[in-house]
Symmetry: C2
Subunit: 203 residues, 2 copies
C-alpha cells in the first residue's frame, strides 16, 4: 500500500496529482482482484486518500471504475482522415489494439464484460463510457467514406454499419482475451482490407 503523497484537501474538485494516484489504485485493484471484489475502501487505502474524496467525485464504484477505465487512453477524437476507408479502418483497429495492449487493461476489460452480465448498472456504464464513444468514432469513419463516395449512406447507417463497428472492436479484443496477445500489424492490415473490400465490392 502506498503512502499518501498529500493529505486530502477537502476541496470539491480533485487535484490532478490526486487523480493520478486514484487512477493507479483503481487499475491495480481491478487487475489484481477484479471488479467483483474491488471496493471504494480498498481503492482509497491504496491511493492514500480518504473515502470521502472518492465519493465527492463519484456516486459509486461502477461510475468510478468506468470513469477511470474510460479515461485511460481512449482517444476522444476519431482518427485523422487518411483519405481512404481502408486507411481509416486500419487506424481504428490499431487504436483499439494499442488501447487494449496496456498490460492492466488487457486483464480489466474481460473482467468488466463478465461483471456486466451480473450488473445491469455496470453494463449501462460500460456502454455509455467505453463502448458508446468507440462506436461514435467508428461511425464517423463510415460517414467520411460516404462523403468520398466509397460506400452508400444506407451502408453507414444500417445493419452493416453496426456489424463493422462491432468487428473493429471485437476482433482486437478476441486476440487479447482468447489468444493472449495483441493483433499484429499484418492482422490489422488484413482486417481493414477485408472489411473495406466487403463494404465496397459490387454486390
Amino acid at each position: 500500500m502506498s503512502t499518501p503523497r498529500r493529505a486530502p484537501s477537502g476541496a470539491a474538485v480533485l487535484r490532478p496529482e490526486l487523480t493520478e494516484a486514484v487512477v493507479d489504485a483503481v487499475l491495480a485493484e481491478l487487475a489484481e482482484v477484479g471488479h467483483g471484489r474491488l471496493s471504494m475502501q480498498r481503492v482509497a487505502a491504496r491511493a492514500g486518500v480518504g473515502k470521502s474524496a472518492l465519493y465527492r467525485r463519484w456516486p459509486g464504484k461502477d461510475e468510478m471504475v468506468m470513469d477511470v477505465v474510460g479515461r485511460f487512453g481512449v482517444p476522444a477524437e476519431p482518427p485523422p482522415d487518411t483519405g481512404t476507408l481502408v486507411g481509416d479502418l486500419h487506424a481504428l483497429v490499431v487504436g483499439m489494439r494499442d488501447w487494449l495492449d496496456h498490460p492492466r487493461l488487457a486483464s480489466i476489460v474481460p473482467d468488466l464484460l463478465a461483471e456486466s452480465r451480473r450488473s445491469p448498472r455496470l453494463a449501462e456504464a460500460f456502454r455509455e463510457r467505453l463502448s458508446g464513444p468507440r462506436r461514435d468514432r467508428s461511425r464517423e469513419v463510415l460517414a467520411r467514406a460516404v462523403a468520398r463516395g466509397e460506400i452508400t449512406p444506407e451502408q453507414a447507417g444500417g445493419v452493416e454499419a453496426e456489424l463493422v463497428v462491432d468487428l473493429l472492436g471485437s476482433v482486437p479484443f478476441w486476440r487479447v482475451a482468447v489468444h493472449g496477445g495483441p493483433i499484429d500489424d499484418q492482422g490489422a492490415t488484413a482486417l481493414a482490407e477485408l472489411v473495406a473490400r466487403g463494404m465496397t465490392a459490387p454486390r
Copy 2:
C-alpha cells in the same frame, strides 16, 4: 441444493445420470458465483455426489469446467455443406449465436475469458476445449471454399483465414457480452455476406 437422485456408486466411470447432475451443478455455480469462487466441494454438494466422484473424472476444477462447458451444445462436426462459402459462413455464425444464446453460457463465457487472464492453465484449457474445436470447424468451411474455387489455398491457410475464424466467433460473442442480446438473423446474414464478399472480391 438438490438431493442426490442416486447414491454415489464408487464405479470408476460416471453413469450418464450422474454426469447430468454434475453438468447442471457446474453450469449453475459458474453462472451464479463465477469461476473464481467455484470449488469442487460446492459442485459436489450441489450435484449430490461425493467430491471423490469428481476427482475420479477430472484432475481439477479447470478441467472439469472446460469439459462441462465444452460438451454443452458445441457441435462436434462442421456444419453441413450448403454449397457456397456465404451459406457455410452463415451456418457458422448461427451455430455460435445459438451456442451462446443459452442463458447460462451467456454469463459463463465472459467469466471464463476474464479468469483465463489470471490462470494460464484455464487459458490453455479454454483454447484446447472451446476455441480450438470451433476454429477447426471454421477452417473446414474455408477448405470447402478452396475446393469449390471460391477462394485460394493461401487465403484458407494464412493471416486472412485466422482473422475470419476470429471474427466468426468474436462478433456473436460481442453482441451478447457488450450489447446484452444475441446477433439477430439480419445481422448474421450481413456478417456472412460481408466476409464472403471481402474474401472473394477482386483485389
